[in-house]
């Protein structure tokens, strides 16, 4: 059972890493627009752009 003395601090440490990643994401502006990116990924360039003339 004494293994939990190592495992639980380890768990918290891993959690802290994810918190740091989260902080980075907020700072990088990932949470500024919660609507656009969800649609943007659907907007691939493979829809036939009317006669495929290059933009």
């Amino acid at each position: 059972m004494s293994v939990i003395y190592g495992l639980i601090p380890g768990m918290i440490l891993l959690g802290l890493v994810s918190v740091l990643i989260f902080f980075w994401a907020v700072r990088a502006g990932q949470y500024d627009d919660l609507e656009g990116p969800a649609h943007r990924i659907l907007n691939d360039d493979d829809i036939d752009d009317h006669g495929s003339d290059e933009p």
């Binding site: 059972m1 939990i4 003395y5 639980i8 768990m11 918290i12 959690g15 802290l16 994810s18 918190v19 989260f22 902080f23 907020v26 700072r27 949470y31 500024d32 627009d33 919660l34 609507e35 656009g36 649609h39 943007r40 659907l42 907007n43 829809i47 036939d48 752009d49 009317h50 006669g51 003339d53 290059e54 933009p55």
Partner: protein, 842 residues
């Protein structure tokens, strides 16, 4: 006359924006070899540019999202000014590698297809390094290489695609708001991490309390809980602790106080138990509690779209550059460098840079933004002109009299600032209850402590703490943010944007509604509504003559007539000897026939007799809201074109509905008393305040407020801005100016008037839900506080009861969406249909 006389025919859909293309401005055009319908020539032009740029995939993306656009907004005039260094210093940031960076407000972004179109089109522009669109806030973040492309070229490119872009100082406008939101998000994220981890510890402890656990491990788990809860309380909960402390110092009990007491007392008690090494701890409650409250706060902050300030938008109305006349010719100077006495050249279509007096020239100036007057004003030598208004067809030379803060525009800006500062804040229901709640809780805890002290100190402290913990301010703290977030989300789906959570509660208590006239109750656009031709003349022939002459002019009446002729697909004959007679009308030779268009004075001057029947018609039109344009050809009056700004659909039903609910209605307009009275006759009983200067509009609101009324202002123009800012609650039309939207609490995206009662109803429903939520948490307390006072609370009991109350409150808030759908799927339509079937006529 019945409503059906309007020239609306079979519904065609605009190929670009998807709105009905049946209005007077509709037109057809060839795009990529196919004939398409458009609702206005703006849409046609935009569609052609999109096709010519090879970006036609935009339409496929658009349709796949089942969204409609709005017709393109007017693009900003005089874009070159944004390239000048002295103008750029306000909003452009220089990057170390010589590139530049700016944030732009973009008008006209509706959906993801717009994002794609803008990013794709700008990516094709040489020198644009980075262009990212923020859909939620309609911003463009731009980085470019000034050596290869100018900022004005980018803005012009956007204008061609149908988006109006203005650069702005992002840090100044919304830096504070953004920093607050980020701080909230950081704290929420950290509390979330704490909540997830402490949950495992709790599970272990609960399992241990049922199946037995060695004291050593139990102690260890307690200390781990302590290690997680401490930073969460200090960092995430610090927001509440600090705000509660500030409130206490100001002797002002806010919602943050019970939250701070609840969290810190629970924490303190748990810490004490941990140190003693006996009993149960509630670190998990502290952490989860803070997390859930922060989620509520964050949702509420998201519902608030308070991005840029209204005054910022107002400043944008004023051009930044002017053309000054000097001895050696003319020069372009920054508006800031102008001094009274300078002479300025104002070309057709330019905005006036300063207040002043016309020295020479003859033109019409569109002052609708300042005065609300729907017709352009005729300006000749000696007339006064105001900064920010738009010059019409002629060139004007203007002597500068007022600059900077002395202009009419600046006075409006000042009024808006004053009104926003003095606006009566809607007092939230929760804020009124909280002080009592806090006082009662503390008192009960004290009483309990005193009672149990007779037994022993330890028990007394334990039971008193239990009272404080069990009162669970969590449900109370969540009741408002959850309801606001859900209601704002559901309303947004109906095209009603709630920009301010407090406004929802304010809407429910409104007992007086003030409407602006032009652009709010009316469409704000001149159209040919009826044509009266003499017996032997056909309507289309009449219109063909009229269109042939009028298409040489840009006056709104002329534009309305030409649009109607184009809408009916009439061709125009060639016109020669076109002339305009100031104050009377226009004339020209069409196919060799002399045609005159204008008022009765013109006919008298030309010696053309007006038949009695048409004279009566003319009188009837002019007694109404319209303008009667007489048409004579070959020395004979052939008929009358009635041009008017139509009353918006549903305006009368809206006024009836409001009055039926006992809500007072006022019409507030800068237009003439006669025009206002006409509208009143059509819409039913209401108070009318006409010929009100923009500066006085807010005074009317203040007067109503002094009578104890809770005022809702509905408007659309720059001149409404101070009134919108001052009213208890305000609604802006989506077709209106950006300034009016920034001043308002609610924006109607579709400009449909029937969304006004909808918004009021959403407010009532939200308030009712908040009230129910508060009741729920009070009932919960009424049951559990006595239990706690009697020292009957066991840890398991508390663990079940406390989340239950929060869940009830959250669940009830989520129900708003269903109640709203249920209510609005029947209610307004039923009311409207009943009225329509009643078949009143105007």
């Amino acid at each position: 006359m019945s409503k059906n006389n309007s020239p609306i025919e079979a519904a065609a859909i605009c190929h670009h924006c998807g709105l009905p293309a049946a209005a007077a401005s509709a037109c057809d055009g060839l795009v990529a070899g196919e004939l398409k319908h458009f609702c206005c020539s703006g849409c046609l032009a935009v569609c052609r540019v999109i096709h010519d740029s090879g970006l036609a995939g935009f339409y496929q993306r658009l349709r796949s999202q089942e969204k409609t656009l709005a017709p393109p907004p007017e693009s900003p005039a005089d874009m070159e000014q944004y390239d000048l260094p002295e103008v750029q210093q306000g909003f452009v940031r220089d990057l170390p590698d010589g590139r530049k960076e700016a944030h732009l407000l973009v008008e006209g972004i509706h959906c993801a297809a717009c994002v794609w179109l803008i990013e794709k089109a700008l990516a094709g522009l040489q020198g644009v390094v980075r262009a990212e669109v923020n859909l939620a806030r309609q911003r463009l973040w731009l980085q470019w290489d000034p050596a290869q492309v100018s900022l004005s070229a980018v803005i012009r490119r956007l204008a061609l695609l149908g988006y109006a872009a203005t650069p702005f100082d992002q840090e100044n406008a919304e830096g504070q708001m953004q920093r607050y939101n980020r701080r909230l998000l950081f704290r929420m994220g950290f509390a979330g991490f704490g909540a997830m981890n402490i949950m495992w510890i709790s599970i272990a402890l609960y399992a241990g309390s049922f199946s037995g656990i060695e004291t050593e491990y139990k102690q260890f788990f307690h200390w781990v809980g302590f290690a997680i809860a401490t930073p969460v309380l200090l960092y995430s909960g610090g927001l509440f602790l600090a705000s509660a402390w500030r409130g206490l110092k100001l002797r002002h009990l806010t919602m943050d106080l019970p939250i701070a007491i609840g969290a810190s007392v629970t924490y303190g008690y748990s810490l004490w138990r941990t140190l003693q090494g006996t009993g149960e701890v509630y670190f998990d409650t502290v952490v989860t509690f803070i997390f859930i409250i922060l989620v509520g706060r964050y949702l509420e902050a998201m519902a608030k779209r308070n991005a840029s300030s209204a005054t910022l938008r107002l400043m944008e109305l004023q051009p930044r550059m002017a053309t000054r006349i000097i001895e050696s010719g003319e020069e372009r100077v920054s508006v800031r460098k102008l001094v009274p006495g300078d002479r300025l050249l104002v070309r057709p279509g330019d905005k006036l840079p300063a207040d002043g007096r016309v020295l020479s020239g003859d033109s019409h100036v569109d002052e609708s933004m300042l005065s609300g007057e729907s017709y352009p004003q005729h300006k000749i030598a000696g007339s006064r002109v105001s900064a920010g208004t738009v010059n019409g067809e002629g060139v004007l030379t203007v002597a500068v009299e007022q600059i900077g803060s002395g202009t009419v525009l600046s006075r409006i800006i000042h009024l808006v600032e004053v009104a926003q500062g003095s606006k009566a804040k809607v007092q939230r229901l929760a804020d009124r209850i909280v002080p009592w709640f806090v006082a009662a809780t503390l008192l009960l805890a004290l009483l309990t402590f005193g009672y149990w002290l007779r037994q022993d100190f330890d028990t007394a402290l334990l039971v008193a703490t239990a009272v404080l913990i069990i009162t669970c301010p969590c449900a109370l703290g969540l009741s408002t943010p959850m309801a606001v977030a859900v209601a704002a989300g559901a309303a947004a789906r109906q095209g009603v944007l709630i920009r301010n959570g407090e406004a929802l509660e304010g809407l429910s208590t409104v007992d007086h509604v003030v409407f602006d006239k032009t652009g709010t109750l009316t469409e704000g656009r001149m159209r040919v509504s009826r044509i009266y031709a003499v017996a032997d003349v056909n309507e289309n022939d009449l219109l063909r003559y009229a269109g042939a002459v009028e298409r040489n002019f840009s006056h709104p009446l002329a534009r309305a007539i030409v649009q109607e002729a184009e809408r009916r697909g009439l061709g125009f004959a060639g016109t020669v000897q076109v002339q305009a007679l100031a104050g009377m009308g226009v004339g020209g030779l069409v196919d060799g026939v002399q045609v005159w268009l204008g008022n009765a004075r013109l006919m008298t001057q030309q010696g053309i007799a007006l038949p009695a029947e048409l004279a009566a018609r003319q009188q009837q039109i002019e007694n109404g809201m319209g303008v009667a344009v007489l048409l004579a050809a070959g020395g004979r009056v052939l008929g009358i074109l009635c041009v008017e700004d139509r009353v918006r659909e549903g305006a009368r039903e809206l006024v009836d509905l409001l009055r039926g609910q006992g809500i007072g209605v006022t019409l507030l307009t800068g237009d003439s008393r006669r025009a206002a009275e006409q509208l009143r006759q059509r819409l039913g009983e209401m108070h009318v305040a006409a010929e009100v200067m923009p500066e006085d509009k807010s005074r009317e609101i203040a007067a109503l407020q002094q009578q104890g009324r809770r005022v809702l202002m509905v408007g659309d123009g720059v001149n409404d801005a101070p009134a919108l800012a001052l009213a208890d609650v305000s609604i802006a039309m989506g077709s209106g100016t950006d300034v009016s939207m920034e001043c308002s609490d609610v924006v109607l995206m579709g400009s449909e008037l029937r969304k006004v009662p909808y918004a009021i109803e959403v407010g009532r429903l939200t308030l009712r839900t908040i009230r129910q939520n508060l009741m729920l948490s009070l009932v919960y307390n009424a049951i559990l506080v006595p239990v706690a006072m009697a020292a009957w609370v066991t840890p398991v009991f508390a663990a079940i009861a406390m989340p239950l109350s929060s869940l009830l409150v959250i669940g009830n808030a989520v129900l708003i969406r269903y109640r709203m759908n249920r209510f609005f799927s029947r209610q307004p339509e039923v009311v409207y249909q009943q009225r329509l079937q009643g078949g009143y006529s105007t």
